[in-house]
């Protein structure tokens, strides 16, 4: 049976505001659990509390209130033990410009106590895996943005953590680099690594995540599987069919019903009655964007617009 690697209860972070103003509630009493081996998506617009939540769970900032256990350790009392067992790739690619790709990975391993005899082998293995083998001696400053991102994720994996936090991993990457990185995240899940992923790219979350929590204004408004979230929005089955008659005329028809089999039968009955051929039948599912708009009242484009300056890797991949 899968166990929970992260358990969060009433986790809260308030930041002091200016004189006379009320404190800013960055995260406001959130509760969730992350299961072992899953890719858990943390989705929300900019400023919703995603990064603050990651910063609390990784020991970078202290919660104002609430409790959390990470890999069985209490965040309040065992933060150093937690840090030793997790990998974190922050939103900014923040390795050392002055060190080479290989030396950055070796330094990451030194900090986490990877034995000396394993460091070179592990570094070469990670460089090969992230297609950076030819850049092993290139300084971090001279790598492309996509390579820097990949190396930052590689550094987070250097000590083989069972739990990986990825904060906006594909933000600012070109389509190919983003696609490559998403493939690597999927591979990690296949290897049993639990991934806590924050993103504002709905398509990316839909593709990668087993379960998704949607956070808005510091509060979780929904938590479910992708299908479960969609089911909340879609109450009726929608079937869309393309029908063709003998003269070559083509028409797209749509049927809605509480029962999908009734909708499909209606399509076939319509085609038979009109003596038309069925060219295609599709069941229409709501997208995660529909779910997001429904649950938050925000447009997905508004979410992307907030991040607009950071590039656009959401397309393709």
């Amino acid at each position: 049976m899968m166990s929970d690697v992260i358990q969060v209860a009433e986790l809260t972070k308030h930041y002091p505001a200016g004189r006379g103003a009320a404190p800013v509630r960055a995260v406001d009493g959130i509760e969730f659990a992350v299961r072992e081996g899953e890719v858990f998506g943390f989705l929300g617009p900019n400023g919703a509390g995603k990064t603050t939540t990651i910063r609390m769970l990784t020991g970078l900032t202290r919660p104002t209130a609430g409790r959390a256990r990470v890999l069985g350790f209490d965040l309040a009392t065992d933060v150093t033990r937690i840090k030793k067992r997790i990998g974190v790739a922050p939103e900014t690619s923040n390795l050392y410009d002055e060190l080479s790709a290989c030396d950055n990975l070796v330094f990451a391993m030194q900090l986490y106590g990877v034995p000396r005899r394993e460091r070179k082998t592990r570094a070469e293995e990670l460089l090969a895996r992230f297609r950076l083998g030819e850049k092993r001696d290139t300084s971090f400053a001279k790598l492309s943005r996509g390579m820097k991102r990949a190396l930052t994720v590689a550094a987070a994996l250097a000590h083989r953590p069972p739990l990986l936090f990825l904060d906006e991993p594909t933000t600012g990457l070109d389509v190919m680099s983003a696609r490559s990185l998403r493939g690597m995240i999927a591979d990690l899940r296949d290897e049993g690594v639990t991934v806590f992923l924050t993103t504002h790219y709905l398509e990316e979350a839909e593709r990668l995540c087993d379960r998704i929590a949607i956070i808005v204004n510091g509060r979780i408004v929904a938590l479910d599987t992708v299908d479960g979230l969609k089911a909340r929005v879609q109450k009726r089955a929608v079937v869309e069919a393309v029908l063709a008659d003998d003269s070559g005329g083509v028409e797209t028809v749509r049927f809605e019903s509480d029962d999908i089999s009734v909708a499909v039968q209606a399509v076939l009955a319509q085609a038979a009655a009109d003596s038309r051929r069925v060219l295609s039948v599709n069941t229409l599912q709501p997208t995660l964007e529909d779910v997001f708009v429904h649950l938050t009242g925000l447009g997905a484009e508004a979410m992307l617009a907030e991040k607009g300056g950071k590039g656009g890797a959401h397309a393709g991949g």
């Binding site: 990784t58 970078l60 030793k84 974190v88 900014t92 050392y96 060190l99 030194q110 900090l111």
Partner: protein, 243 residues
């Protein structure tokens, strides 16, 4: 956890030395600046050059440790790489101790070069070597802690340089390098007693003259106290900045 702290401290220092300290401009600045300053003074005031050696060593260790130390932490905080160290299983005092160790190692290395030159010119005479080693070590620790405190007290790199110079330059003139404390007005003597450089110059002079004065233990104690106080303030300031 202590093993994690010690390991982290060591590798943070090694990384800093490699990434920042042992770079040609930093090495040449660390060695040339004190020589240039002391020689300029000697040309203006020709006299017993040997008397300037303790001050030369003190200046070398002050600038060797604090110049880079004062900007390393604020620089890493600005570009985000300090976060890598904060995420590692290394507690804050160990992280800062690693930073101090890097600054101390570089400062002691350039001071060793300057000391060798001074010994080659003036001879070893009756140097009290254990006292000299202890004085250099404690001075390096105190000035490195000063650099670390400056670095965590500011938000921008240029502010760190300004603040470091705001502290270092008055110390140069009030620390007994060029003018003995006894020749200063009483008010300035009080100010000089609040500066770590004063104690570094006094212990280095005692060590190079080969005689430990009754006040030498107090001087060493003062350097240790400055180190502890500045380190504690730096840890507190960094904890507050990263909370």
């Amino acid at each position: 956890m202590l093993a994690d702290d010690l390991r982290g401290m060591w590798y943070i220092a090694m990384k800093d030395l490699r990434a920042y300290y042992f770079k040609p401009p930093n090495i040449s600045w660390g060695i040339m600046f004190p020589f240039a300053f002391v020689l300029a003074f000697a040309i203006r005031n020709p006299g017993e050059l040997r008397q300037l050696v303790p001050g030369l060593l003190a200046l070398t260790i002050l600038f060797g440790t604090s110049s880079m130390e004062a900007i390393v932490i604020v620089f890493e905080r600005r570009i985000g790489s300090l976060e890598r160290l904060l995420l590692a299983p290394v507690r804050l005092p160990a992280l800062l101790a690693g930073k101090l160790l890097g600054g101390m190692t570089f400062g002691l290395t350039v001071t060793a070069v300057v000391l060798l030159v001074a010994l080659a010119v003036f001879g070893a005479g009756s140097v009290n070597w254990p006292l000299l080693a202890l004085a250099l070590l404690l001075a390096a620790a105190a000035f490195s802690a000063l650099g670390a405190f400056v670095s965590v007290a500011v938000r921008e790199v240029f502010e760190a340089q300004t603040l470091a110079n705001f502290v270092r330059f008055p110390m140069m003139f009030l620390g007994g390098i060029f003018v003995p404390l006894s020749s200063m007005p009483p008010a300035l003597q009080v100010v000089a007693r609040a500066l770590p450089l004063t104690y570094a110059v006094e212990t280095l002079r005692a060590a190079l003259d080969g005689r430990a004065l009754p006040t030498t233990a107090l001087d060493l104690g003062a350097l240790a106290a400055f180190t502890a106080a500045l380190f504690w303030l730096a840890v507190r300031a960094l904890a507050r900045r990263t909370a």
